[in-house]
């Protein structure tokens, strides 16, 4: 990289190194603090909103899940699900094992181009197989219920939302984008997660109630925080791809 291809403004590049670091750190702090402050400020309304979404969809989908805000309006709690946690029947277990075998075998036919998909499918199959083995031998020892599952996913999802602004500022925020975008985009990403998270949980609750809690491990490991992270990475990549690259060298890169 030569001096002409540098993407940093000339004024910043000319600053002494410690001052530059301090300036960036301050920027990171301020740009992170704004969406985080907003997130903290609207938390009670956000939880109200999530509860409203849950309640509305629960009725439409006939779910037995029943969320309510705690007295301090600081968290959503799920009441014990009446008949909502079903252990898998012998038939479900058998079909699950058959399905795992089929996925494992069929993924063997994938070409190298689909190696990542094969790896992912097989990883999920192994998680599900371990769940099957567990439920065949000792179902009563399964320590989680749907309500605990949802509680954990919601706590982790909300926690992940707190990580999004600092991560965005660290990565995407360093790029050359206008300040107003640096402030608004993290808020929009947060808004996306605020909308996506309860619907993801609703979908999981619906699946668990209609299938059985046999699928809880695979949903937890494959479609819990990992999914949030994948979505964040995808959003980040999309945002980064839309940033104007000033140098021809970078544009071609």
């Amino acid at each position: 990289m030569n001096a002409h291809t540098a993407s940093w403004p000339e004024t910043q590049a000319r600053l002494p190194a410690p001052a530059w670091v301090w300036a960036k750190a301050l920027q990171w702090l301020v740009l992170s603090a704004v969406p985080l402050g907003l997130l903290a400020l609207i938390k009670p309304w956000l939880l109200d909103f999530w509860q409203w979404i849950f309640t509305a969809w629960s009725q439409v989908l006939a779910l037995s899940v029943s969320p309510r805000l705690n007295t301090g309006r600081s968290a959503i709690e799920w009441t014990a699900l009446e008949g909502g946690s079903f252990a898998p029947s012998s038939t479900s277990l058998t079909w699950s094992v058959v399905g795992i075998a089929a996925v494992w075998l069929l993924s063997g036919f994938f070409s190298d181009r689909f190696r990542p998909l094969r790896t992912t499918l097989r990883a999920l199959s192994l998680i599900h197989l371990s769940a099957c083995v567990f439920f065949i031998w000792t179902p009563a020892s399964f320590p989680y219920s749907i309500s605990k599952h949802l509680q954990a996913l919601m706590d982790m999802g909300y926690g992940f939302m707190w990580v999004i602004p600092p991560m965005l500022t660290l990565g995407w925020g360093l790029l050359q984008v206008p300040l107003y975008q640096k402030l608004i985009v993290p808020c929009l990403v947060l808004a996306y997660f605020a909308l996506m998270l309860p619907h993801k949980l609703l979908l999981q609750a619906w699946l668990l109630e209609h299938l059985s809690i046999l699928f809880m491990p695979v949903l937890f490991f494959g479609f819990g925080s990992l999914l949030d992270l994948w979505i964040f990475v995808a959003v980040y990549a999309w945002l980064a791809s839309r940033v104007y690259a000033p140098s021809p060298g970078l544009r071609e890169a």
Binding site: E82, F86, L105, G108, I136, W137, A140
Partner: protein, 619 residues
């Protein structure tokens, strides 16, 4: 144009395919064996956490109580229960015991909830399922079963040290009827005027139980309550099912010689909530009394003679237990019967024995010395007292005595071992009051003497016999009424109970004795009563223990079946069907007779090693 290559199936893939197919077939077969819906359903199950809980004393207490109440109860682990529910296998009723099943996963709790909502009867006991699996601490702010029992309890986070309280227990008049509590167990106050009667036992001023403090959630029907109105036993409808909540540690209490509530609640659950027939604890389901006479000293001799002259011994058989030594209250006081040298008493006992009365040992050689002084530490000193008494009584009647009662109810564990060693069949007991013949727990463990049956006394509030009436400031009429009610109760409920008295007190209770005679005469005329000896009932109970039986169904048409078998004979074994729950009862294999008795059907087995009976369950 590029040619696409078809995928090649390698040998490795084929092997994989075969291995997975084999695994699928094996797991399918294994799962079907574990919980296939094609298997016949289960009867009442005792839900235990796992197989390790099976030998625990409290588990044994529950199973033995059920067996003695004539119920088919099988242990089922939490895993098996969850599998059965997942595969829609029918389960007639679920018992969730105290002490051995404190820890439970949310999945088990939810499965129980689902079971009840779908119409299953559930009995929840005290601390069952209160704790979580991992940490053995309270799983939630209130028991996760609170919505099932209709009240919040196990409120440790809120109440801390006040989570559990202690109180006497009171039963309503309704509960007295519903639970078929026997006369004398409840004290309804002076003149029987109170609406709630305190549960009593022999010799304790108050019977105090531990219970969880509760907060109401929904209306429940309270059968028993504490002093502060906390429900102790209640029923609550949930979904299409019913839940019986016992807020006392029933199994724990049975291992500590207080079995009454466990037995009564099990019987209530099976007959009224699960609506299952039971195997009667008496031959041909004929109710009766073991009348146990304790002949402590020579003060009894004249009253015995008077009773004989009055024709009292023409009825029976009674169980006459004798302390045979020359002394009674202290050494060398000369107040004992001195049986080896008492020709009149020898002749009397021989006469009664020949007439069919049962003659047994009352300790102990010297009544009060043995009763006051024998303890766990002095077997060497006092076992000879038992030997001498046994030799004297057995010599007199010409055969070995088989039944025993402890002077003053004092029975060290070595004395029980001695009885077993000498081939005794039964002994009178002041523990487990209100029960029929039972196999008592000793030192919190099942009795190691499986051949011995304990015959608990029937307490009248805090006393058990004539001599104590005056001590408690009672009138004769009170105990007279009690005995009359007890006779009626055992007749109606097809049960056998023990009542004992000292013949020396009989001159002061002539009216009571006459009442007994007249009431028994009336009941006998109706074919509703008979006297039992301890040995006869012990033999019957032992034979009853050998009966293997199970209930199948109901199927889609409501058809149910009992199949029973015994290595010897089912003769006189009797199944009692509540009439409103069964119709079209018919014997399909073996011999037996069926007759209706008030609102019940009685099925009496004949001399047959196996029996099959079908009936249609009334919805």
């Amino acid at each position: 144009m590029r040619r696409r290559h078809l995928p090649v199936i390698t040998l490795r893939m084929v092997i994989w395919l075969l291995v997975i197919a084999a695994a699928v077939v094996w797991s399918t077969l294994a799962l079907q064996a574990k919980g296939s819906p094609m298997r016949s359903g289960h009867g009442i199950v005792l839900l235990i956490p796992d197989a390790n809980a099976l030998p625990l004393p409290v588990t044994r207490a529950w199973l033995e109580a059920a067996q003695e109440e004539g119920l088919v109860v099988t242990p089922m682990t939490a895993d098996e229960f969850i599998r059965a529910q997942a595969n829609h296998t029918a389960i007639a009723g679920v018992l969730l015991p105290d002490s051995v099943h404190r820890q439970a996963s949310d999945l088990l709790v939810n499965t129980l909830s689902q079971y009840v909502a779908q119409g299953g009867p559930l009995m929840v006991t005290f601390d069952a399922a209160l704790f979580n699996l991992q940490t053995s601490t309270y799983a939630d702010k209130a028991s996760r079963l609170s919505h099932l029992v209709g009240m919040r309890y196990g409120l440790y986070e809120q109440l801390q040290d006040d989570t559990i309280a202690q109180s006497p227990v009171y039963a309503s008049r309704l509960a007295e009827q519903a639970l078929r509590i026997q006369p004398g167990k409840l004290d309804f106050g002076a003149h029987d005027a109170d609406d709630w009667g305190e549960l009593t036992t022999y010799a304790y001023k108050h019977l105090v139980y531990s219970h969880y403090m509760t907060e109401p959630l929904e209306p429940v029907q309270t059968l028993l309550r504490a002093e502060d109105d906390t429900p102790i036993v209640s029923t609550h409808a949930h979904g299409r099912g019913q839940v019986l909540f016992a807020n006392v540690p029933l199994g724990y209490l049975k291992t500590r010689t207080d079995s009454y509530l466990l037995h009564r609640l099990l019987a209530f659950f099976a007959s009224d909530m699960v609506r299952q027939p039971s195997l009667s604890a008496t031959p041909q389901a004929q109710g009766g009394i073991v009348l146990n006479l304790h002949v402590d000293s020579n003060a009894s001799q004249e009253p015995l003679a008077e009773l004989e002259r009055a024709g009292w011994f023409d009825d029976g058989p009674y169980s006459i237990h004798v302390t045979a030594g020359p002394d009674a209250i202290r050494a060398a006081d000369g107040l004992g019967l001195n049986l080896p040298n008492n020709l009149w008493m020898q002749a009397f006992l021989k006469r009664q024995h020949a007439q069919g009365h049962e003659i047994g040992n009352h300790g102990g050689w010297v009544h009060n010395v043995y009763g006051d002084q024998a303890d766990e530490s002095n077997q060497r000193e006092f076992e000879p007292y038992l030997d001498r008494n046994h030799a004297s009584v057995s010599t007199t009647i010409g055969e070995l005595a088989k039944v025993y009662s402890a002077p003053m109810g004092n029975q060290p564990s070595w004395a029980t071992a001695w009885l077993d060693k000498k081939g005794f069949k039964a002994y009178y007991a002041t523990s487990d009051t209100g029960l029929g013949p039972t196999q008592s727990f000793i030192h919190e463990r099942p009795s190691p003497h499986a051949g011995l049956w304990a015959f608990p006394i029937s307490n009248f509030k805090r006393i058990a016999t004539f001599d104590e009436v005056q001590e408690q400031g009672m009138a004769e009429i009170e105990i007279t009424d009690f005995i009359r009610l007890l006779l009626d109760h055992v007749s109606e409920q097809h049960m056998a109970r023990l009542f004992y008295f000292h013949p020396a007190a009989s001159p002061h209770f002539e009216k009571t004795l006459r009442t007994i005679q007249s009431e028994v005469k009336k009941l006998k005329a109706q074919g509703q009563f008979r006297w039992y000896s301890m040995a006869e009932l012990s033999d019957f109970m032992k034979r009853r223990q050998d009966v293997r039986w199970q209930i199948r169904g109901p199927n889609a048409q409501g058809l149910q079946e009992i199949s029973a078998s015994s290595s010897t004979s089912l003769q006189d074994m009797t199944w009692v069907f509540p009439a409103h729950t069964a119709q079209d009862i018919r014997i399909t294999e073996g011999q037996g007779t069926l007759h209706q008795n008030k609102d019940e059907w009685l099925l009496v087995a004949g001399h047959t090693p196996s029996l099959k009976v079908q009936w249609t369950r009334v919805p």
